[in-house]
Amino acid sequence: MNDRDLNALIRMAQEVEQLEEPAPLRFEWAQADAGARKLHVRKALGGVAALAAAACLGIAAITWMKPAPSGVPGPVATNSGPAAVPIDVKVEPRSEGRDVAVRLASAKGSSPLGAVLLAVFKDSEDRCSCIQINGADFKGDLASIGSSELVRAALESSCHENPQEVLVIAMEGPRDRLPSSTAEAEFLAAAVQSGSSHCSDDGCLTETTGAFLPEGVRAVAGTVALR
């Protein structure tokens, strides 16, 4: 066996090591419309791979690390001050999942309250067809908003013509701790999808969503079959 073959084997061995390591989330844009804030995300794997309880976006290995519990939950942002205002959502090229997590985790949380509505639309084959994020203006307390109302809000500007199912996540909190770009929305949606495969109701989904959000951010999540 010559050196060239050995080199190939060594490189392959190193690639296998990398295969075992958690991979940063990467997304590809098939289409982006800055005006309508539309996205298309990667289709989930079909066939046998569809048996997997993997994220709808087909990308797993999300390890959003949390520190050891302090015993007392930190302060939660409330709406005692001015009402949360919709935040401007940026359309931007994909960002590293790591960067997203670091930014949201390290944000000071001192900015005014904001709110966003994230929606993930699935087609008839249970594949993510598109994802959208909009600055939202929730009237009243987030807790009083039902998932059907959220879905209605999401469908008003749906990026999919004929979705079979939609996952909606409404978030409210310090603006600098909310996902504010399409890339960040992708990351969060994938995290929630991946972590909620065991969920059978919206309560579980909401709790799972909360686990991925920074301190002080409140969320309501729901999933609705439309057909």
């Binding site: 392959m12 990467r26 290995a61 686990a211």
Partner: protein, 249 residues
Amino acid sequence: MEPAAKNNPGGTRVAISPAGMSALSIPMPDDPPDQVAAPAESPKRDQTLQVLTARAAKGDKEAFAALHHRLSGGLFRLFMDRTGRRSELADDFCQKTWVAVWQALQAGKYDPERAAISTFIYAVGYRVWLQHMRSTGRANAHLDAAAPGMAGLGLAEDPAAQTKLAELIQCVRNCLKDGDNPAGLDDEERWILTASSSGVTDRELAARLGVAASTANTRKKAAYDKLRRYLEKLGHRAESAGQLLPGGE
């Protein structure tokens, strides 16, 4: 700590995030091979992969789903690198690979004694990619880049060739790991092999080792010879690789 949830009369539960959240912990993808230490939890993770694979081989779809969950990200990234960031193609390759892995498991074609499941999945994926390259007429370009012997193993019609490739790669993995020393390679020799295979020149090796270029070359040859002898001792020879090439090499 589970996030607190608050019920409301409307039935909607609001998740209130727990205090704090540390930054995502992900290894830098560009770390040079000789600086990546095996994760502390690696043995536990390997054992879990073994358990999942054993269950999947018996038809346990949930176990296979968990296996997919664990490794699909890394596989997708590998294909993204190979395809030049073409996500649709990488997606397609991933799907074919996982289907082939499932079929191989059900057919009893995977032997955990010969290779880790990650190595086997890699070998299957490598074959998928090579078949695509051949179908698009670019197999020759890869043969020049990779090595005729290895590409031959990937493309060989004999299904056992895939397993053989996985076994070969696993042997090399074992040789390069800290702690394991089946080929008798010391730390410096392992470093020389990984650096040289990634394109580091003899001169650069010499500078890094603080020795003359001729000395670096001698040490490099010794390292390659050790690895070669070890693989040959296990029965992996150039001739056997050549026999698996389509039409012979």
